[in-house]
Symmetry: C2
Subunit: 214 residues, 2 copies
Amino acid sequence: MSHSSRSRLRMQTASLPPTPSDGTRRRILETALQLFATRGYHDTSIRDLAKALELQPSALYAHFPSKEHVLAELVRIGHEAHHEALALALKEAGTTDPAEQVRALVRVHTRLHALHPQLALVVNEEFYALTPEMAAPALALRTQSTLLLAEVIERGIAQQRFSPPHPRATAAAISAMGVRLPYWYELDNGLDVDTLADVHAELALRMLGVRERK
Amino acid sequence: MSHSSRSRLRMQTASLPPTPSDGTRRRILETALQLFATRGYHDTSIRDLAKALELQPSALYAHFPSKEHVLAELVRIGHEAHHEALALALKEAGTTDPAEQVRALVRVHTRLHALHPQLALVVNEEFYALTPEMAAPALALRTQSTLLLAEVIERGIAQQRFSPPHPRATAAAISAMGVRLPYWYELDNGLDVDTLADVHAELALRMLGVRERK
DNA sequence: GTCTATAATGCGATAGAC
DNA sequence: GTCTATCGCATTATAGAC
């Protein structure tokens, strides 16, 4: 860490999805998430992390073999939670109507990024700090999640319910709305998460050429 | 820099907008842009930069007082080029029709991010590595650029030509399309820049509730 | 599983010659 | 404006006691 007050995200208690994990390991992940999100992975040292945890640096190595393994675990948790949430949303939508499926996917994508901004930031910005080998599991999940949306869009097009100007670019634009949330959206600022999720779902359907529903 | 082959952007000759600048200083900026975009600011050392330039580390200090000043200059150039391009596009649109103004803004925003992906990445991801004092000029430009789009949208709403579900979230979504381009878009991949710019303009107008133009 | 102590290396930046 | 050489300090990680 360096000397200034610069930071890319307001300091706040890190919100990590529930995981089956013992106490200290979990504390390390939560604290690392907070620091990595605020200052970045490369600008956060093992010493910074240990100090925030009120531990000696060497104590961390009883829980993770390296700093990179801490990041890799956060990135894995983030991608896993994201993919599971998307798959569950599709399943619970209980419909084969592509518009409703897009709505379900976008709503949960937005909710996740709005409610876990630190994890979203670390997953998306520090992903590339991992060696390809350590990033591989997350990358596989990322590909699957991207496919979930792409396939729903393709189905909607095949059924002539969607008419995006360019399917791939439109899918990217829909995803980008959520991914960029940590940079501007803050809770308790007059726009609650559910409203935002509805707004994003509406924007996605407009991009796909679906007229206003009743 | 570290030992692995990890990188967040394919290595390629860095594309920096033309600036009035003498030879070595310009070479430093171009090389730093390439390295910062590929590996990140904190993971690129003065030694890495010097080696890529075939200079000794100390030679850099004849051109920039610190590593942070190199980044600050790149961030400043990026924000300046962006804001100038947006303002020029608005002016050259030669109309007060909000839809045409949004089209002009989105087209140039997209072109810039597609044609200068490294600069876009560094500007957006490494911005927060700067001390607040060094980031201030860029931040001011960023605020102005955001306002350009927000004001056009507000005017379109006042004239009842636009009906976004939420003006602020919609403006953010429109901007996000461009900002996320470096992560997926590649030239010479079957989708040329002008087509992409048109697609984004169309998506923006759909989000704003403007029906297809003839 | 946490501690003290330290190894081995890399970092940003500077001094001073040319 | 570039070089050689180096300062002072931070870095990740390990050794070994408890």
